[in-house]
């Protein structure tokens, strides 16, 4: 069994490598454009459609308003999935609402946050943190409702990122996705550790548990 140190480095490396994948949106447009019915030619679509054609077709064919991508909402953009809703406002802030009953897919939230100009690392079953904690979290993230936080990326100190760690609580499990809890903290982009059992003192003054004001279950 890999050591905890090795597992931490693996989680960190995978989070960075997945976030670094270039321009997946073009692939997404092509994937969503496809007419998912049997009996159609569907292999090698990637090489057969230009990005421009796919981009124009995807909105018309799927009517994605409210489900994916940009949809008008109070002068900003809304990304809505079953697990979370992310609204970008005209003043540069963003509102993130977590659905605690649905498993959070880290890659989706991470890429959507970055798309909205919020550098972040999102993990499940672990939390990336820096010691010492960089200051300024309370200026960056505010809890406006139990499962809703407002994020102000302009207030993030240089060289920092947000870290969201999603944990299963109670009897929750991966398949049912029940009992999810998400921890948000500020980290130094160049120096952080990811662990399944982050230090107990990581939250006070430097982070919050979205929905529940306590540290994740060990």
């Amino acid at each position: 069994m890999p050591t905890e140190e090795l597992e931490t480095e693996l989680r960190r490396a995978f989070a960075r490598a997945a976030a670094d994948i270039q321009d997946p949106e073009q692939a997404g447009r092509r994937l969503l454009k496809h007419d998912y019915r049997p009996g159609r030619g569907h292999r090698r679509l990637a090489a057969g459609i230009t990005a421009g054609t796919a981009a124009a077709a995807v909105v018309a064919s799927l009517g994605l308003s409210g489900a994916f991508g940009s949809a008008p909402a109070s002068g900003g953009d809304t990304i809505q999935t079953t697990a979370f809703t992310l609204v970008k406002h005209a003043n540069g802030t963003a509102t993130l609402t977590i659905n605690p009953k649905v498993l959070l897919e880290p890659g989706t939230l991470q890429s959507d946050l970055r798309q909205d100009g919020i550098p972040a690392i999102v993990t499940t079953g672990s939390l990336c943190y820096s010691e010492p904690k960089p200051p300024g979290f309370s200026q960056v993230v505010n809890a406006s409702m139990p499962y809703t936080v407002t994020i102000n990326p302009a207030a993030m100190p240089a060289g920092t990122e947000l870290s969201f760690g999603n944990f299963r609580t109670g009897n929750g499990n991966f398949r049912t996705g029940t009992g999810e809890q998400t921890i948000a903290i500020l980290i130094n982009a160049g120096s952080y550790t990811c662990a399944s059992t982050p230090p107990r003192g990581i939250l006070p003054g430097g982070g919050l548990a979205i929905g529940e004001n306590r540290a994740p279950r060990s």
């Binding site: 890999p2 693996l10 995978f14 994605l64």
Partner: protein
């Protein structure tokens, strides 16, 4: 014949695809190291989910079902390309770094394209174990269930794969074009 019906179900599926293509794509990209292959395999996954949508939509977590299909497709594709070794869990893996050395090698990664390249050099099942455990953050039991092996095999394979990954990072010589990997590189295992 439209297999996703009635219209409300079609809209449900569209929302599912819109919500989950990204994590499926990133998972597959990490496993294959190739964007075009990842796109093809995710498309095939969504196609298969669509065909069974009337059953899948009632599942507790349709995304877990889709991920299982995707992993099986990746492994099948690796078999088809003869990329996988004769044994599913080859003993002749070459040198493996110790955990401490592997952790240090991973900590020192500054070229993420190189990391993805090194990951793609692993036998497909070893890569799958690492991606499912440390990117998808699935429990060991879930990974074992998906791959059809024991939990002990998952943990030992994870350790072995991490060691090989570190070796590839330390000694590999990916081409200068590695940020846009070509399919031909996948055979160099």
């Amino acid at each position: 014949m439209d297999w996703v019906r009635p219209k409300a179900s079609k809209q449900e599926f569209d929302r599912f695809a819109a919500a989950w293509w990204d994590p499926l794509f990133r998972t597959c990209y990490l496993m294959t190291g190739d964007a075009k292959d990842a796109e093809d395999l995710v498309q095939e996954t969504l196609l298969r989910v669509a065909r069974r949508w009337n059953r899948v939509r009632s599942m507790d977590h349709p995304a877990a079902y889709a991920r299982r299909i995707l992993v099986n497709l990746v492994l099948h594709d690796a078999d088809r390309r003869s990329r996988q070794r004769a044994e599913l869990w080859p003993r002749d893996d070459g040198p493996e770094a110790a955990d401490e050395t592997a952790a240090r090698a991973l900590r020192e990664v500054d070229d993420l394209a190189e990391f993805r390249w090194a990951l793609a050099q692993l036998p497909a099942r070893q890569g799958a174990v690492l991606v499912l455990r440390y990117w998808a953050d699935l429990p060991v039991a879930e990974v074992a269930d998906i791959l059809g092996c024991s939990e002990g095999t998952v943990t030992s394979t994870a350790s072995r794969a991490a060691g090989r990954l570190a070796e590839a990072l330390a000694h590999g010589a990916p081409p200068a074009t590695r940020t846009h990997r070509s399919t031909s590189m996948k055979g160099n295992t």
